[in-house]
């Protein structure tokens, strides 16, 4: 009938040494025990209320007991609320988890950190009825600006130990809104107009555009992800990026994290534009220069910016499953980052990569015309990158070509020449059989066209004299075991001689590479 059963009374009686408590007595005591417990709890709740708390603690019970002149129960006082555990198998039975503690452990334990002292901090809960948006107050409104970088405000003291997002209300003037609408409309619809060019120059020079930067970066990111097939739009967007980067009044750093993915997408995406005729190569080259310029400008602010970019690009470059277009973008991106990057990252991988690339370029192995064309593009890009690298190298170390190297060079030259001869026929063969390809190749954009053109023209010139395609399989046996390849694999090392590098590159690319070398040095070689 009462909450306290008779049995409990008997158990309690036994625990204090009364063994012969009659069951009648227990029965009579039980309801009274319950009443007293309730009484104590009622007083305890009063104490709790006056301590301005809403959770009952053992202290409250103790003070309630002392109100009734009862000795408090020792051993339960603790700053933390008691942890009750459910007894296994019983739904309604709980007990306090009371672990046995070895006294030795307690004594030997290091002193706990002294608790922080109480302090008072002041803030404005409201100013004339309006709650200011400060970390101490509850964040009330959602953030309006779509692309605001939300930085967490970390408070050093544990006063208000919550990380707080600042709700920033972004107010745009009417003029700025109009401007933004106009620019976005131009970008999306009329990117070939004269007006767009003026818009770009305005973006690049006008001051006071800073409030729009988050909106622009958001706009660009959105449009790029949505319109990967619309090449002209992508080009326009990248030009907007370029203009924004150029604007000296804009503080674009905080928004880079949003812009970079879009740019890199334009660089290494598998497909850009939906038509074959779309000249996505140009877009990739353009994006590559953008990436490079960003890295140059902000590399010192964000130390991991360039490493992250190169890592992404290198991954794309080294992954054989990726499409040729992606490889091309990666190579362009890397080479745009400078000769050092090329030397460190591309050259060591050059030889194995070319091995993979080679079959793609051959008519026999790769029947798909488009893919072959792409492979040639990649080849051209690679050669360009490597050539530029060597060129820089040679410029840095003028006249350092040592004698022994030249000896090696000479020693190898005969072989090299034969190789180049071997290559030439292959090219001529290609051209001979595939006039359209030639057309395409010669129409290639300026950045890439120089090496390829030379290559091809050389091939054409030498075309007649050379033996024909029967020898092509032998190309697989390019001099891989020689000094050249060794020089390449250790290309990342600083001390590798430019001459060695050139030799090996010559081995790989043939005469084409020579166009990167200035006449004086060239004469040295020859």
């Amino acid at each position: 009938m009462s909450i306290v059963p008779k049995e409990s009374i008997e158990v309690i009686a036994q625990s204090i040494g009364i063994n012969n408590l009659s069951s009648d007595a227990a029965l009579a005591l039980a309801p009274d025990v319950e009443y007293r417990v309730r009484e104590i709890m009622q007083e305890a709740i009063k104490c709790m209320r006056h301590s301005k708390r809403t959770t009952l603690t053992t202290d409250d019970v103790d003070s309630a007991l002392s109100l009734r002149n009862v000795e408090p129960i020792y051993g339960f006082a603790s700053g933390d609320p008691l942890r009750f555990k459910r007894a296994v198998g019983r739904k309604d039975l709980f007990y306090i988890d009371d672990k046995e503690v070895d006294l030795k452990d307690v004594i030997e334990a290091p002193l706990p950190k002294a608790p922080l002292d109480t302090a008072v901090v002041v803030h404005w809960l409201a100013i004339e009825g309006v709650q200011p948006a400060i970390p101490e107050n509850v964040a009330m409104e959602a953030i309006v600006a779509p692309a605001d970088n939300k930085r967490l405000e970390h408070r050093k003291e544990d006063a208000l130990p919550v990380d707080i997002k600042l709700p920033v209300k972004h107010v745009l003037s009417k003029e700025l809104q109009l401007y933004f609408d106009k620019i976005t409309e131009l970008t999306t619809n009329r990117s070939d107009s004269v007006l767009f060019k003026e818009a770009l120059s305005s973006l690049a020079t006008d001051s006071g555009l800073h409030p729009l930067v988050p909106y622009f970066s958001y706009f660009i990111a959105e449009e790029v992800t949505r319109n990967l097939s619309d090449l002209s739009l992508l080009v326009a967007l990248m030009r907007v990026v370029q203009s924004l980067l150029r604007n000296p009044h804009i503080h674009i750093e905080p928004y880079l994290h949003q812009l970079m993915p879009s740019i890199i997408t334009c660089l290494v995406a598998k497909r850009l534009g939906h038509r074959l005729a779309d000249d996505h190569w140009e877009l990739r080259d353009f994006s590559a220069t953008l990436v490079a310029s960003i890295c140059r400008r902000f590399g010192h602010v964000y130390h991991n910016l360039q490493t992250r970019v190169t890592k992404t690009l290198l991954n794309a470059f080294l992954d054989p499953t990726k499409a040729m277009t992606q490889h091309y973008g990666a190579i362009q991106g890397l080479s745009a980052l400078g000769a050092n990057v090329v030397r460190l990252l591309i050259l060591p991988n050059l030889e194995p990569y070319l091995k993979l690339l080679e079959p793609e370029m051959l008519l026999e192995k790769q029947k798909n015309e488009v893919k072959r064309n792409e492979a040639w593009r990649v080849y051209g890009a690679l050669m360009c990158a490597a050539g530029n690298c060597v060129y820089e190298r040679l410029k840095m170390l003028p006249g350092l070509l040592s004698r022994p190297n030249r000896q090696i060079w000479r020693a190898n030259s005969g072989l090299d020449l034969t190789i180049s001869n071997k290559r030439k026929p292959s090219n001529s063969d290609l051209l001979g059989h595939q006039p359209p390809l030639k057309k395409l190749a010669t129409a290639a954009p300026a950045a890439v066209s120089i090496p390829t053109k030379k290559d091809i023209s050389a091939a054409v010139q030498a075309g007649g004299a050379a033996t024909i395609s029967g020898q092509l399989p032998s190309r697989r046996e390019w001099p891989t075991g020689g000094d050249g390849s060794r020089a390449l694999t250790v290309a990342w090392k600083e001390e590798v001689d430019a001459g060695d590098l050139l030799c090996s590159l010559f081995e790989l690319f043939g005469e084409g590479i020579l166009s990167f070398i200035q006449p004086p040095e060239l004469s040295l070689f020859l």
């Binding site: 002041v122 100013i127 309006v130 200011p132």
Partner: protein, 666 residues
């Protein structure tokens, strides 16, 4: 069976049951019957006899009550509310009857069977009754005793009353009839049935007889402000200015660069700046006046206590503050400066802020009292307090983020948790009350304990300085409130009358009265001079935790454990309107200086601002017409970050100070 025998049996039965009324009626009936000479129906007589013989079977209570319950619930919707009101007292008395007769088990079963019906309205009462298991408990519990001795008033409309009587007669449920007869006093009113919310009496079953409350509430309360108060003087002063200068309602914040307001500022050639300032002052004064005129100005009263003399510099500073007071209303909400106690480790029991916000005190459960001087720490409080700045919201952000280790003054002396602290009006003394049954007076200048006031026998829950200083009131677990003066160690008055702990105490602005809130769910108003209870306010459903008096002295607000706030009219003793909105204990209430706004701080981590003018005015006109509901307007809810609001206080310039301890668990 002999007729006389039956009569005797019936009489014996009635006497045994204590149905005096019924006995009397029966006797009259008998006399009439005998005079008429007609015979009573033997059938009925037999029935009555069987009832008498079957004794007080506990089952009859159960059955009788459950029948009455089903009947009331199935009655017409229009009258249902009223009839249901009858159920609760019947339920409680059935239960107590059963316990008293020793049918403890049956009582428990009965209680558990029907308690759900009343859970919503009377949760706390039920929790108390739940524990009653033996007749001796009944005798011990005062609440139960009081209930058994007194009658409950229930208002019923004519028709409901007739319905009830018909039912009781028809079913011949004598047990129920007996209980209703014995413990319920019906007040039958002609006309339509009233809705339940209108009737405060229906809500609470108060141990003390309502008649006493009624009687007490007849007494006169002079709620007018003190004559010749500084505000009055200021008001006249301001009014004088505004007469010559045209006041166009537009009041801006007084600019605070030069404080020396020229007395001859109303000259025609005064500079624009001066004019502006004067307008503000004028507007303030005008508003105060209009305020008082709308509220049917009560005659000024003379102080019944001998008031301490205000030093001239103090008077000067008050005048200064009054002049720079920001006008707040439902349209212009106040600024709130929040003092957050951090790293309290659940030990902060109370807090207090001095009138200018410069000093903040906290009472802790480790018996210590700590006082922070905010003006010494950076410019925080400085910007608030220095005379030069009266619009502190300018650099609010800087203040909040300023976080340095703050040294505080530690006052040790109590031997138990400190439950309340109060600054003297000038901020030079602090009073603290503790569970060690003492009150201690501390000096801020000397940083020392001056006096220890011993008088209470149990923990002192609350202590409050009077608005003029020198006197203070305390309330305690020993069910008394006491009035003290600083220079005597014995209390001047002891106010006894509450039936349970006196949890909070508050001075009336004119210092002639104090109000006390108690765990017996009532608020009482006491005359300080005579020590008599002059008002009993009944209506809260749980323990009253906080009180506030409107500055004009006419209204009082009280907040309880459930989160409801009630506005009372002191002169009539009636609840004007309940303010519903908080979900947890209302720890603190404060009126703005003009009395236009009420701020409430609660354990639900919010500060709410209520429009008092709207609530009081509307209710006066509509009270008679429609049922209440939440008429009053909650203007604004200001949530804190998991910081329950312990204390609120408006500065004289109408800046609201709030305090609370950051609690991570909430």
């Amino acid at each position: 069976m002999d007729e006389e025998e039956i009569d005797k049996a019936v009489m014996a039965y009635l006497r045994k049951k204590g149905f005096k009324e019924a006995e009397r009626v029966l006797q009259e009936e008998q006399n009439r019957v005998s005079s008429v000479g007609s015979r009573s129906d033997p059938e009925i007589a037999k029935q009555i006899l069987t009832f008498a013989e079957s004794g007080d079977g506990p089952l009859r209570y159960h059955e009788g009550y459950s029948k009455l319950r089903t009947w009331s619930y199935s009655s017409l919707d229009l009258y249902k509310d009223e009839l249901l009101r009858v159920l609760y007292p019947v339920f409680i008395h059935c239960f107590m009857d059963l316990v008293a007769k020793g049918y403890v088990q049956e009582a428990r079963r009965f209680f558990n069977c029907f308690r759900d019906d009343h859970e919503m309205m009377h949760k706390r009462d039920l929790q108390k009754f739940e524990g009653i298991l033996t007749p001796s408990h009944l005798e011990e519990m005062e609440f139960a005793c009081a209930l058994r001795q007194s009658k409950v008033n229930i208002k019923l409309c004519q028709y409901s009353y007739e319905l009830l009587l018909q039912y009781l007669q028809k079913t011949q449920s004598l047990t129920m009839l007996g209980i209703i007869n014995e413990h319920i006093n019906f007040k039958v009113s002609p006309g339509h049935p009233s809705s339940i919310s209108d009737d405060a009496d229906a809500v609470s079953l108060i141990g003390s007889s309502q008649d006493i409350a009624k009687q007490v509430n007849q007494k006169e309360v002079h709620w007018g402000l003190l004559e010749d108060s500084i505000e009055e003087r200021f008001e006249k002063h301001g009014g004088l200015l505004s007469d010559s200068e045209k006041v166009d309602g537009e009041n801006k914040e007084a600019d605070g660069e030069d404080k020396k307001r020229p007395v001859e500022g109303n000259k025609q050639g005064a500079s624009a700046k001066k004019m502006k300032k004067d307008k503000v002052v004028g507007a303030v004064g005008k508003n105060v006046r209009s305020e008082t005129t709308t509220v049917s100005v009560a005659p000024r009263v003379k102080p019944e206590l001998k008031l301490p003399v205000m030093p001239p510099d103090e008077e000067q500073s008050i005048l200064e503050d009054l002049r720079n007071r920001v006008q707040i209303s439902s349209l212009a909400l106040p600024s709130v400066s929040f003092y957050t106690f951090i790293n309290t480790h659940n030990g902060l029991n109370c807090s207090a802020v001095s009138h200018d916000g410069a000093l903040v005190a906290g009472g802790f459960s480790d018996s210590s009292l700590k006082v922070w001087d905010m003006s010494k720490i950076g410019q925080q409080a400085g910007s608030i307090n220095t005379q030069g700045e009266n619009e502190p919201s300018l650099n609010g952000h800087v203040l909040g983020s300023d976080e340095r280790k703050q040294p505080y003054t530690l006052f040790q002396g109590h031997a138990g948790p400190v439950y309340a602290a109060s600054f003297s009006p000038r901020g030079d003394y602090i009073l603290s009350s503790s569970s060690d049954a003492t009150i201690r007076l501390w000096s801020n200048k000397l940083n020392a304990n001056l006096v220890c006031y011993k008088g209470h026998n149990y923990p002192v829950w609350d202590v409050q300085f009077s608005p003029v200083g020198h006197y203070f009131a305390s309330s305690s677990h020993d069910r008394t409130a006491r009035i003290w003066s600083m220079d005597r160690i014995q209390p001047l008055r002891i106010m006894a009358g509450h039936l349970s702990d006196v949890d909070c105490v508050q001075w009336h602005p004119n210092c002639n009265y104090i109000a006390t809130g108690s765990s017996d769910k009532t608020v009482r108003l006491w005359d300080v001079h005579s020590g008599e209870c002059v008002r009993i306010f009944i209506g809260h459903r749980s323990m009253v935790l906080s009180l506030a008096m409107s500055p004009d002295g006419r209204y009082m607000a009280s907040g309880d454990e459930d989160g409801s706030i009630m506005m009372w009219d002191l002169s009539t003793g009636r609840c004007i309107t309940p303010l519903v909105g908080h979900t947890s204990c209302v720890w603190s209430l404060a009126f703005s200086c003009e009395g236009t706004l009420l701020a409430s701080g609660s354990a639900d981590c919010t500060v709410k601002l209520w429009d008092v003018t709207a609530s009081t005015k509307i209710s006066k006109t509509e009270e008679s017409r429609s049922g209440s509901g939440s008429r009053l307007r909650s203007l604004k809810t200001l949530p804190t970050k998991s910081t329950p609001v312990y204390n609120l206080r408006f500065s004289r310039r109408n800046l609201l100070f709030a305090t609370g301890a950051l609690s991570k668990g909430v």
